[in-house]
Symmetry: C2
Subunit: 121 residues, 2 copies
DNA sequence: CTCTTAATTGCAACTTAGTCGCAAAAATTT
DNA sequence: AAATTTTTGCGACTAAGTTGCAATTAAGAG
């Protein structure tokens, strides 16, 4: 299965915490915070944060800080922008690819802030 | 002077804390966190946060959360993007105007994350 | 399969940005 | 100048995230 292979490739040990975490990220369409994960499975926050940091070091996950003082994590797939709603604090992935460049800078992520579709009605 | 006029217009009371705060924001080229302001003047954090919130309500200031868990504030001028460096955590304003739109969404701010000019050398 | 070793987990204590209640101080109204 | 209202500053508090440490678990060697 892909989780086992991924962990193997990165020379990490496969623990149940890691399997559960990756399982969740593989099945989520949005970036998730600790709270989001916590609402799905029981996991100590130290375990969560230590594992997601390790996954980030290994480029399995990426993350960004949202508007609500929480950090959101997701699988490192193709580069794409994120939208953060200032009303509901919801976080979404924007599928349409972005192109933006700036001399001398490396742009790795784009976060758009404003009002999402739902809250705009 | 413009600070007095601005405060007047927004029906706020002009206190020395507010004058000092606005003075700093008027002379800064970058968004500032409480720590940044604190390094320039002595001010209680409750006073800082209560005033910047009030200024935000009155659309005098705008703010965003950076990568370092700190919130950065700046005068509400023309819409422009911000760049946040993941190496030095520096925050900069991008002068070039952006144009990006997304059906059904209101985009109010754009934050680019990556590596800044300095750290890229 | 069992032993050994090294990594991981879970808990509690801690850190840090930001918030809140309240009494003292400063502004504005009368 | 007195009365009323708002703001300030302090300390206590909150919530996300980090760290130290003892107990547990994974994985390789025999």
């Amino acid at each position: 299965m892909k989780i086992e292979k991924l962990i193997e490739e990165k020379n990490l040990k496969l623990t149940s915490a890691r399997r559960e975490l990756l399982e969740i990220f593989f099945h989520s369409a949005k970036p998730l915070s600790f709270e989001d994960v916590r609402s799905r499975i029981k996991m100590d926050k130290a375990t969560f944060y230590r594992n997601v940091s390790k996954f980030e070091e290994q480029a399995i996950l990426g993350s960004f800080e949202s508007n609500d003082k929480k950090r959101y994590y997701e699988l490192n797939t193709l580069p794409h922008a994120h939208f953060v709603c200032k009303i509901c604090n919801g976080v979404e992935c924007i599928k349409e690819p972005f192109s933006m460049s700036l001399d001398g800078y490396v742009i790795e992520d784009i976060i758009l802030k404003g009002v999402c579709k739902q809250c705009n009605k």
